[in-house]
């Protein structure tokens, strides 16, 4: 099949961003609607791709390859398997919703929307790329718009947060670039499928370093870059600041998609390229994951800022992704590994839904009250019952209530990881308990209790546009919670094809 | 006939003429007089050209052509220069060269 659906999905947002630059800045409404409609196009095409995708076929599908930079034999090579397919759907779904959520932005709308669309291209590119250099390029492209979104449209401490975000991520990227170059120089190709074939037996010595040393350097460079992005404890402290200070839609995308880039890097590059090293350090990774789960939950529990609490919940939830990946690294090829990876990928998707939903709902209430302090709310359930019910629903998805999506993935991860890492998994149950504690703490102080008199009359019910943003997320949460087979089957097959041979 | 007046005489004459012109251009205050000095210098050059042409290269018309070009340039220069001077006079009511120092750094 030689259609160019992926390229269309990938570059449509950029084209749309350029088109938006032509619209006069004063016509704010037109800019909003054009960017919203434009962001729907990739989503619809990705639905088409989802339907045409054959989960039972091994390898990459919808592949496209053009020579890009022949001198260093790097090519524009894109394609997807079941893992990237899920991530693509998540990205193209969340972007229109985030744009719809940012209709309340009224300053420099044009730049905002254009940056947002660029961001989408950057993220999608990472998921599509089958060439290391291309991967890196898109990796960095995604970074820049996010920086500006935080620094320009963020909260009070946005300068600190955005600088921390970009410096931290850049620090990781440096190593990534170095490692990619090292691989490129020693093997003579950046092409991922080709690399997989020749990688195992290839002698990779350079500058007098042995093959194993080169591999170890590249491994650690990859791991650190991705660990920062996920983020794995203790590389996580940029996250609460960035999430808290970013504008609502920025937080949605940041938590919903950007964090997944790191985990995706682990799945796409680290595990396949370094099975030996992964196995060697899988135990350490599992311990870090457990620490992330426990301390993420505890830190979230101690927050008094609603948005910051939700931000910390991301660390807690992404800890499960890493736990699954670690288990798979340790016992590659086994049923446990397969289930753990199913859980990890599904958890990535689910966390995308629930954290984006939570950030959005925090944003909704923030726009009305201009406060994020938990003690400034109180008893608003009586004032905004619809909002309250939606918040409880989304929070329960985040909590992992059985019947909603979060439970399925957490169950799978724990199922996969428990036989592999008994103690870390058992300890991570502490985190699972505190997940309940911080979610209930938030609900308790926001919705329940006596009505805060200051809010009387200032609080309007959630409006139709906002319901339209959250409704698709809620539908998916329920759908995956009740009948997860449609998505798990895609992931399951992809994981089997990609990792069973290791 | 012609042989009786040697080349050097022409050259001396032209040099004298040039010096008169030079003096006029450098020393006179009146801009028109400066312009006239320049015309004299140009004419001195013409004399030189013609003299050299007649004595050294008389078989062609090069010398005449050069002189014609110099005349044309001189005429053009005189026309532009006078126009400028008139224009300056109208604005500043003076034709004294020292007063016209707008280009002072």
């Amino acid at each position: 099949m030689t259609n160019h659906l992926l390229s269309v999905i990938l570059f449509f947002p950029v084209v749309a961003a350029l088109a938006i630059l032509v619209i006069p800045a004063s016509r704010v409404k037109a800019i909003r609607w054009v960017s919203f409609v434009a962001s729907l196009v990739p989503f619809l095409i990705s639905l088409l791709v989802w339907l045409q995708f054959n989960p039972y076929q091994e390898g990459y599908q919808f592949e496209e390859q053009f020579i890009w930079y022949s001198a260093i034999s790097s090519s524009y090579h894109i394609g997807i398997d079941g893992i990237s397919l899920t991530m693509m759907l998540l990205t193209t779904l969340l972007t229109p919703l985030a744009i719809l959520a940012s209709f309340t932005i009224s300053e420099r709308v044009k730049a905002y929307m254009a940056l947002f669309l660029m961001l989408e291209t950057g993220m999608l590119g990472v998921f599509f790329a089958l060439d290391l250099l291309l991967f890196f390029v898109f990796w960095e492209i995604g970074l820049v718009p996010m920086y500006f979104l935080i620094a320009q449209w963020g909260g009070e401490k946005r300068n600190y947060a955005s600088i921390k975000f970009i410096l931290y991520t850049m620090a990781g990227s440096l190593g990534l670039l170095l490692a990619i170059q090292l691989i490129g120089v020693t093997t003579g190709t950046f092409d991922l499928p080709k690399l997989m074939e020749i990688w195992k037996d290839k002698q990779l010595s350079i500058f007098g370093l042995s093959t194993s040393a080169v591999k170890a350097i590249a491994f650690w460079a990859f791991v650190v870059a991705f660990a920062i992005k996920v983020p794995v404890w203790p590389f996580h402290t940029w996250l609460p600041d960035a999430h808290t200070e970013a504008p609502t839609a920025g937080s949605m995308i940041l938590a919903g998609v950007l964090l997944k880039l790191g985990a995706y890097g682990f799945l796409r590059l680290v595990l396949p390229l370094y099975p030996m090293e992964s196995r060697q350090f899988g135990g350490a990774l599992a311990i870090l994951a457990t620490l992330a789960i426990i301390f993420g939950a505890l830190s979230a529990f101690s927050q008094n800022d609603f948005k910051r609490l939700v931000a910390y919940s991301s660390i807690n939830h992404m800890g499960f992704v890493i736990l699954g990946i670690a288990a798979a690294a340790w016992q590659a090829g086994s049923v446990n590994a397969n289930l753990a990876l199913n859980g990890a990928v599904l958890q990535m998707f689910n966390h995308g839904l629930s954290s984006a939903g939570m950030f959005f709902l925090v944003g909704v209430i923030y726009e009305r009250t201009h406060t994020r302090k938990l003690e400034d709310y109180g008893g608003i359930y009586a004032l905004v019952p619809v909002y309250g019910s939606i918040l409880i629903f989304t929070a329960m998805s985040s909590l992992g209530l059985p019947g909603l999506n979060g439970f399925v993935s957490e169950f799978l991860v724990v199922r996969g990881a428990l036989p592999v890492f008994v103690l870390p998994t058992a300890l991570s149950m502490i985190g699972l308990f505190f997940t309940g504690a911080y979610i209930l703490k938030a609900l308790r102080s926001v919705l329940h209790g006596p009505v805060n008199e200051h809010l009387h009359g200032h609080l309007s019910e959630i409006n139709l546009r906002e319901i339209l943003v959250i409704a698709p997320l809620m539908v998916l949460m329920l759908w995956i919670g009740l009948a997860p087979a449609w998505i798990v089957e895609v992931i399951n097959r992809a994981v089997m094809f990609a990792f069973s041979a290791l | 006939m012609i042989q009786q007046i040697p080349l050097s005489w022409y050259l001396i004459f032209a040099a004298m003429l040039f010096c008169v012109g030079l003096f006029g251009a450098l020393a006179r205050k009146n801009a028109i007089a400066i312009l006239m000095g320049i015309e004299l210098m140009l004419n001195a050059v013409n004399v030189n050209i013609l003299a050299f042409w007649r004595f050294l290269y008389s078989d062609g018309v090069g010398g005449m052509v050069f002189v014609a070009v110099v005349f044309a340039a001189a005429a053009a220069e005189a026309a532009v220069g006078l126009a400028l001077i008139i224009s300056i006079y109208r604005r500043r009511n003076t034709v004294v060269a020292d007063d016209i120092d707008l280009m002072k750094g």
Partner: protein
């Protein structure tokens, strides 16, 4: 329609009702309760059909009604979910359907359907009553309708869905889903009046306390799943080969076999859900919910789910145990926690004055009974007591709701500000609320095990005789003492509430509840008496054999039976006499102590128990202990260690140090290299050019003749130079 298909349909009507009410009819009272009640009715109908076809099927325990589908792909297999009715779930579905339907009907009256809207009512708070014009002169009021009426029916519908799902599922995963969903609903219902801080806190407490158990239970499920590759009852619990295999291998933890470990982990979930010590603290606080109904859910339905699960995983718990031999470690844990809880909660119940709290502690105590029974291997007796208890405890809770309602009416009428739930504010209600009194009396007698006529007698007697026969002497004594206390506090409750004279004006103006509330009471009262007749042991003196011991045969087929059963047969009358003595003695004692309590008097027990009284009055200070030992430290660790120390101080501190170090390095570079060297050079070039310009500009006078002189001089100079050059060059 096949029975299997019907089983799938049982849980669905309440779910549909929930969706309908939430999405469409949330503003309409009558429509909402009609939807909810008819949904419960449909489920009830389906349950009855299923129950009777199950009861009529031979060999049901070996070939249960079962149907399943693929749910979750796992590499090359699927995790399957489905429904199943075997004898155990059949009796579960029977009592769940009945009690749920009764609650639904009762709730209509309890939430004052048809009463006027409250004068000062506000969503999130209980109704405060409405002023009526004709009562204006007395300042009297009448009860007002619940402001969140439809919402209540939506939530209990979801609750019913969860309970039915749990009961009919054929695997532990959907059971867990129903289990957690019920926890969520109970969180919602306990915090139904969410604007009340006490209700809000009780809701959080209930959810988190049960969650402690739930995370262990999840571990247990996952362990079972990873060991056997399945979670369905048929492949794991009901498969002796699998159980044997699991029992053989040691888990390496506490000397337990793998089966025992899984059983223990799942049992910790049961401890949370069924409010066993030490996770019992949430249940009494759960009485903050709408009085009788949510309390009743927490007494008759949800907490029963915990015991149901324990019975369900009994094969794991007892793996490797042969009747008559030493108990497995996990069974010992069950027996000791159950027996301890039975006694411990009964003592607390002695000193509670809130009519619902007494019942709450009595529930904990009775559940302990069942767990203890299971711990010593009395599978059938535990199940029997579970079912009987569900009926009479539902009756008692609904009855207490009716009492509170009646007294509340008096409070509205007289304007007297007394707590309508405190039993010392009641008295003499026998005449005011005759139906409530008689049904409550029957329920109370069943709870205390009044001989022969009540259901509670048969089930308790069976447990006691089993304990005695099996030589579990400590369990026997503890349970007997607990039964004595139970009879005592039940008599105390009935005496204080219904007998004697009214101790407050409100109590003397109480009125009988509406029909829609008392009809469920009557129906449940019938069950509280007759249900016990389904399980009379064959060898019981005088009565044995008149009715077949149907329950024993039906549910007993689930386990390979079991030596010391049918206590009466071998002739020892000790357990029988014990149950007679404790129940009648406790009742008589309770009545005798409390029959003369007058308004304003202290509890007579206070004098008798002395320093022990404050201890049980304050529930052994366990809440305070947890607060100090777990909650405060957890908050402290979360804030100070995890956030302030690790994140803010250590990690961010390190980052900031790096940032600062880099900054310093930058400053050094700037001051000692950038500024002097790089900037210096650049600036020098600029400055020099400027200086030169300053010098040269003086030549530019603007005077044309000076320029000409200058150029003449240059020409001369150049000419001279040329001349000299050629001159010298030639030389």
């Amino acid at each position: 329609m096949s029975t299997e298909m019907l089983i799938w349909l049982i849980p669905l009507p309440p779910l549909l009702a929930f969706a309908l009410i939430v999405l469409f009819t949330y503003k309409k009272h009558a429509l909402s309760h009609w939807i909810a009640v008819s949904a419960a009715g449909l489920s009830w109908l389906g349950s009855m059909v299923v129950f009777f076809s199950a009861a009529g099927k031979e060999g049901l325990s070996h070939e249960p009604f079962r149907s399943f589908i693929n749910w979750l792909p796992t590499q090359r297999n699927f995790l399957q979910i489905g429904v199943q009715i075997d004898p155990l779930s059949a009796v579960m579905v029977f009592f769940v359907a009945w009690t749920v339907l009764m609650i639904f009907i009762y709730s209509i009256g309890y939430h004052n359907y048809g009463q006027p809207k409250g004068t000062a009512d506000h969503p999130g708070l209980p109704p405060h009553g409405a002023a009526l014009k004709k009562h204006k002169e007395t300042g009297g009021m009448v009860p007002s309708v619940e402001p969140m009426y439809a919402r209540f029916f939506a939530l209990i519908s979801l609750f019913a869905f969860a309970m039915f799902t749990l009961v009919v599922s054929d695997n532990l995963l959907t059971l867990y889903i129903g289990w957690e969903l019920m926890g969520f609903c109970s969180y919602f219902l306990i915090g139904f009046w969410y604007a009340k801080p006490s209700a809000r806190d009780a809701a959080v407490k209930a959810f988190l306390t049960t969650r402690v158990g739930d995370v262990f239970m999840l571990l247990g499920l996952v362990l079972l799943y990873s060991q056997t590759g399945s979670l369905s009852y048929a492949d794991t619990l009901a498969n002796p080969v699998v159980i044997e295999e699991l029992a053989k291998h040691s888990s390496g933890i506490l000397g337990l076999s793998i089966a025992g470990l899984i059983g223990l982990l799942i049992f910790i979930g049961v401890i949370g859900k069924s409010a066993q010590f030490p996770l019992h603290v949430w249940l009494p606080d759960a009485m903050e919910g709408p009085t009788p109904v949510s309390a009743m859910i927490h007494a008759a339905t949800m907490v029963s789910a915990g015991v149901y699960l324990a019975i369900r995983v009994f094969p794991l718990i007892s793996a490797g145990w042969e009747p008559g031999h030493a108990l497995t470690p996990t069974m010992v844990v069950l027996a000791s926690i159950g027996a301890f809880t039975a006694l411990f909660a009964a003592t607390i119940a002695l000193a509670q004055n809130d009519i619902k709290r007494v019942l709450a502690y009595s529930t904990i105590s009775q559940l302990g009974y069942m767990i203890a029974a299971l711990g010593i291997g009395a599978y059938v007796a535990a199940t029997f007591h579970l079912v009987m208890h569900a009926f009479f405890k539902a009756l008692l809770f609904l009855g207490s709701g009716s009492v509170i309602h009646g007294v509340e009416h008096g409070v509205y009428h007289t304007g007297e500000h007394v707590d309508p739930q405190n039993m010392f504010n009641m008295g003499g209600l026998r005449k005011k609320m005759p139906v409530t009194f008689w049904t409550f009396l029957l329920g109370g007698l069943a709870l205390s095990g009044f001989p022969l006529v009540t259901a509670g007698f048969w089930s308790k007697d069976e447990i006691l005789s089993y304990a005695f026969k099996g030589d579990y002497f400590i369990v026997f004594v503890v349970l007997a003492v607990a039964a004595l206390l139970t009879a005592f506090y039940t008599a105390r409750q009935i005496t204080l509430t219904f007998l004697g004279e009214a101790r407050t004006k409100a109590s003397s103006h109480a009125v009988e509840s509406v029909k829609v509330m008392i009809i469920p009471l009557i129906i449940l009262a019938v069950f509280a008496v007759t249900a016990g007749w389904s399980g009379i042991p064959q060898g019981f003196p005088l009565f044995g054999g008149i009715l077949p011991n149907w329950f024993e045969e039906f549910v007993g087929s689930m386990v390979k039976e079991s030596a010391p059963h049918g206590a009466g047969e071998s002739g020892s009358l000790v357990p029988l006499l014990t149950s007679l003595v404790v129940s009648l003695g406790g009742l008589a004692l309770g009545w005798w102590v409390y029959k003369d309590v007058r308004a304003g008097m202290n509890d007579p027990l206070e004098r008798v128990l002395g320093r022990f009284y404050p201890l049980i009055k304050n529930k052994y200070y366990i809440d305070e202990f947890y607060q100090a030992a777990f909650i405060k430290p957890a908050i402290w660790i979360a804030d100070k260690v995890a956030y302030q120390f690790l994140d803010k101080f250590l990690i961010d501190g390190f980052l900031h140090a790096v940032a600062k170090g880099t900054w310093r390095l930058g400053v050094i570079f700037r001051n000692f290299f950038d500024i002097p060297v790089v900037n210096g050079t650049g600036d020098a070039i600029g400055k020099g050019t400027q200086g030169l310009g300053d010098v040269l500009r003086k030549m530019q006078t603007g005077k044309i003749q000076q320029y000409m002189i200058l150029s003449l001089l240059v020409v001369i100079l150049v000419g001279v130079l040329f001349y000299l050059y050629f001159l010298l060059g030639r030389v």
